[in-house]
Amino acid sequence: MAKPEKVLVYRHAAVTRLTHWINVLALTLLLMSGLNIFGAHPALYWGQTSTFAHPWVSIGAVQRPNGEVEGVTQIGSAKFDTTGVLGWSGKPGSRQPVAFPSWATVPSERDLADSRRWHFFFAWLFVLNGLVYWLVGLGGGHIVKDLAPTRRDLAPRNLWHEIVTHAKLRFPKGEEARHYNVLQKGAYLAVVLILLPLMVLTGLTMSPGVDAGAPWLVVLFGGRQTARTIHFLTAFTLVGFVLLHVFMVVASGTWNNIRSMITGRYAIQPGADAGATTPKMGEAA
């Protein structure tokens, strides 16, 4: 018997691919312009108002008695020396007191007016892009069909199996690889249904205009400063997701994954059941 060959399946619809890459662009620029905006007042609070003497997070520069300047990041009652990255960064000798370093922000120099221009432009792109994804994803069945976990997915035995194989970086082959596994479904759903909408809603809650028109938003988040804090925390949760996502892409086959998000075609390695599988419609052998 001939060795079973790998199968190319059509994995991602054009809308998914297009909205994915627009999202990559928009979220990257939203994050980097957001870090620049944060530099205008690098402190976070809870509630309606700022308790200037007691932020729960702050990033700043302090001068030591010996004249040396240090970047200090404070979280709660803990203080960390973050010289070179947070609070005081740049080439030694020409360091600047800035919350996030210039290589992480757009524009690279601290500029509240320009960074807001970037932020709101890409916020619009991000929201419109998200609406397209949602409308097509819900209308076309992508979210329900491909992302909603099935009863079998959620069985404790299956969950445990997925966690163990993920931890070992062993990825599904054959029939199993045709669908998202339950951890993927959970992660993607959390991003699409919770984290990204949370970014938009907490962002809108910081707007005095929106707060007048939709007072329930401020009530929902418990204050403009709480909303700002959640906006910041959710942004870094998304950064964490992206790091994990990119790591998994690399670990499970960089080019195969990237190709599938560009052309839609994803190669499946033959599994134990490969011999019994006949390619389905729309699939190339």
Binding site: S50, D114, S207, G209, A212
Partner: protein, 258 residues
């Protein structure tokens, strides 16, 4: 095949170069008039969307007295050194007059006592700075709408400009004088007032004594302090550097609802 360590080094180098290229491109766009104009197009979308979806008379939330911030932060000018202002302040603003002119039928010149006799409103509201912080304060002042009606706006008036006594930036052409402008929707909003009291006391100097604007559905820099003249105009182009306000002339949005 390239050894793994080499490949990793190559990949890191490629990523760092791509990142640097992207940052450079972003800075080029920011400094390019067309680039920044494209980014600024979002402001029109935001303004239109807010005008479309938010009731024009919707009130900003008002708070109970126990929510008032003990540490309300004054920003921008906090003690103007302009000679005219210093002279006014020295006499406890007894000689202060607010001029209302421009495209009005009946220009006005009002003392603080005149202003206090006008239809007033008191509100405890949240002040949102463009930098991201917020404070809550109690404001009492003359409602702008009835004041404009008293002067009689001409049909051609489209914006209300607030000229201020403070110079926030020293410039040769005088464009460092603070000023602000709003449209008639915000001018006639019930919470838009010229405040003379803050937290039941006469407005203190750091917060704009003797008179400041409160336009509650916009960010802090719209709330002009040290207001000496209210002018009705049909166009913002001839004021300052033409963008409708001190910070607007320096790149900030004219519509500051977000």
């Amino acid at each position: 095949m390239i050894p793994t360590a080499h490949r990793r080094g190559w990949l890191q180098g490629a990523l760092a170069s791509a990142g640097a290229l992207m940052l450079g491109a972003c800075d080029k766009i920011t400094n390019n008039p067309t680039g920044i104009a494209v980014l600024q197009s979002a402001e029109g979308l935001t303004r239109r969307a807010q005008r479309l979806f938010i009731d024009r008379k919707a009130l900003a939330r008002e708070f109970p007295a126990n929510a008032i911030s003990a540490d309300f932060k004054p920003n921008g000018s906090i003690d103007p050194s302009d000679p005219d202002y210093v002279a006014l302040k020295a006499k406890g603003f007894a000689d202060y007059r607010l001029v209302v002119d421009g495209l009005v039928d009946k220009p006005l010149s009002l003392s603080l006592a005149d202003l206090r006799a006008l239809p007033a409103r008191t509100q405890i509201t949240r002040h949102d700075c463009v930098e991201g912080w917020s404070c809550i304060g109690k404001w009492t002042g003359a409602r702008l709408g009835p004041l404009l009606d008293k002067a009689g706006l001409k049909k051609t008036a489209r914006y209300i400009v607030f000229h201020c006594a403070d110079t926030l930036e020293q410039t040769l052409d005088g464009s460092g004088q603070y000023y602000e402008s709003i449209d008639l929707i915000d001018a006639y909003h019930p919470q838009t007032i010229l405040a003379y009291d803050m937290n039941d006391q006469a407005l203190p100097v750091p917060h704009g004594a003797p008179l400041r604007l409160r336009v509650e559905r916009q960010l802090g820099y719209k709330h002009a302090k040290y207001v000496t003249r209210v002018e009705a105009v049909d166009d913002l182009a001839r004021l300052g550097r033409g963008k409708g306000g001190f910070w607007e002339d320096r790149g900030y949005e004219w519509y500051a609802g977000i």
